[in-house]
């Protein structure tokens, strides 16, 4: 990994967390986007997009309503594409599937840090409210702190968790044992998750099936 790539990962992890948690919301944090950027930077675009597409489903199957804190699919996209780009799981079916399992499990502790960020925000607003009842200018300060905390969370938590998965994969010894393309197996997982999304989307099952079949036939003929 070159210095430029390291700097890119530093800022990307920070901004992705910020985009997800604190603001901007331009969808830089979507797994498909973040994996594409890493894929372009490390010249691994195709496999990175595919693994990004798999983790994209985790986010698509949840809606952030009210106090619901979504599972951190941004981390999953970031971590898995970094692992691919660093050569940890590029040519080994077993390691890519193991990495998917590890990354998916790691989503839970990473999401927990999101909850702690919210708690920190709550602590700060309570403190600011108690200390400055007559001061109306602390909102801007709280917003800036919130942005900074989200950025730091991305840089520290995403990279630390990725490093832990990297170490685990390395110690298990699954590096480059089988020189077979993992794409076929990722495609199977992709279909499985499409089935999940199919249930999640609105509409009558019968209508959905009709649209699915029409789409299938149209695509088969045209493409």
């Amino acid at each position: 990994m070159s210095l430029a790539q390291g700097i890119l990962l530093f800022f990307l992890s920070g901004f992705a967390s910020l985009d997800r948690v604190a603001g901007i919301n331009i969808m830089l944090s979507r797994p498909i986007v973040i994996t594409s950027i890493i894929g372009i930077a490390f010249n691994q675009i195709l496999i990175c997009i595919l693994i990004g597409a798999i983790f994209e489903f985790i986010g698509m199957l949840e809606v952030p309503v009210g106090t619901v804190i979504l599972k951190d699919d941004t981390f999953a996209g970031y971590s898995s594409s970094v692992l691919i780009s660093l050569g940890a799981i590029s040519h080994n079916n077993l390691s890519i599937l193991l990495a998917i399992i590890l990354v998916t499990l790691m989503i839970y502790p990473v999401t927990l840090t999101d909850i702690y960020c919210r708690k920190l925000n709550k602590l700060m607003i309570t403190r600011a409210f108690n200390e400055t009842k007559s001061n109306t200018n602390s909102d801007g300060f709280l917003i800036r702190i919130g942005l900074l905390v989200s950025f730091i969370r991305g840089v520290v938590v995403y990279n630390l968790a990725t490093f832990l998965i990297f170490l685990t994969l390395h110690n298990i010894g699954y590096f480059a044992k089988q020189e077979v393309s993992p794409i076929y197996y990722l495609v199977l997982l992709f279909i499985l998750l499409m089935g999940c999304l199919f249930r999640f989307l609105n509409g009558e099952l019968f209508m959905k099936l009709i649209f699915l079949v029409i789409g299938f036939i149209a695509s088969w003929i045209i493409l």
Binding site: G23, S134, L192, G195, N202
Partner: protein, 239 residues
């Protein structure tokens, strides 16, 4: 146009207003921050926007917050008490925005990008960002404009354009694209343009398995179970 230019800094700031999101007042701090900024620019008072409203609860969809700002400005200018609209409109916009942006637009953008990725992977990401953000930026600016011009009647605009149906239409378009993606996948799995019944059977099995398991298990665990099954299949094929 003059109105939008005057409010531009506040509209740009609105992309950061969720930074203090917390379980106490949700987006309350950010909304208060935006109102103060708007108040300064338009030299208008929003009633009780002083200091203690930081503790006030506010939660809506982030892409709809500018509608609220527009309504607040309009109502404040006509001398009406604005705070009474806060929770009602925030909830309505929250529901509309969550359904359209989070539930439907994300999958639709994803599948459109996927089709582009088949031909040119590099452009897929750019397409995703551009397509989604056309709605994002559009709603930010148009929201403020409509909120200001229609005030509390802005809901009628949503009724006129049948906004509640946009989500259903987007979902059907997504399912259509999903079918198209399945056709591409079948062609990839069978490695041919001819109809391959084994490839279609494999695809159908995995698709139905996903459809069925999602009823009982959350997405991450479906993925873990799927990865384990695929690993087992791979190992069996290697024996």
């Amino acid at each position: 146009m003059k109105l939008l230019l005057k409010a531009l800094p506040t509209l740009v700031k609105s992309i950061f207003y969720q930074a203090n999101w917390n379980i106490e007042n949700m987006q309350g701090t950010g909304f208060s921050w935006l109102l103060k900024d708007l108040s300064k620019r338009f030299k208008i008072s929003f009633g009780n926007v002083k200091g203690n409203e930081r503790a006030d609860y506010f939660n809506t969809n982030p892409y709809f917050v500018t509608f609220m700002l527009g309504i607040f400005l309009k109502e404040a200018e006509s001398g009406k008490p604005v705070d009474q609209y806060k929770s009602t409109y925030a909830s309505v916009f929250g529901a509309l925005g969550d359904t359209f942006f989070w539930h439907s637009l994300r999958p639709l953008t994803f599948f459109l990008s996927l089709f582009i990725a088949v031909y040119e992977p590099m452009f897929a990401m750019f397409f995703y960002l551009i397509f989604f953000n056309i709605f994002n930026i559009g709603f930010k600016f148009l929201g403020f404009y409509l909120g200001y011009n229609y005030g509390t009647n802005v809901i009628d605009v949503f009724r006129t354009v049948s906004f509640a149906n946009w989500s259903d239409i987007a979902d059907m378009a997504t399912i259509f694209l999903m079918g198209g993606t399945l056709a591409i996948v079948v062609k990839y799995v069978s490695n041919s343009d001819a109809i391959n019944s084994i490839a279609i059977f494999k695809t159908a099995i995995f698709f139905i398995a996903g459809f069925t398991t999602s009823r009982y298990v959350s997405a991450p665990f479906t993925l873990i179970i799927g990865a384990m099954i695929v690993t087992a299949i791979m190992l069996l094929q290697n024996i």
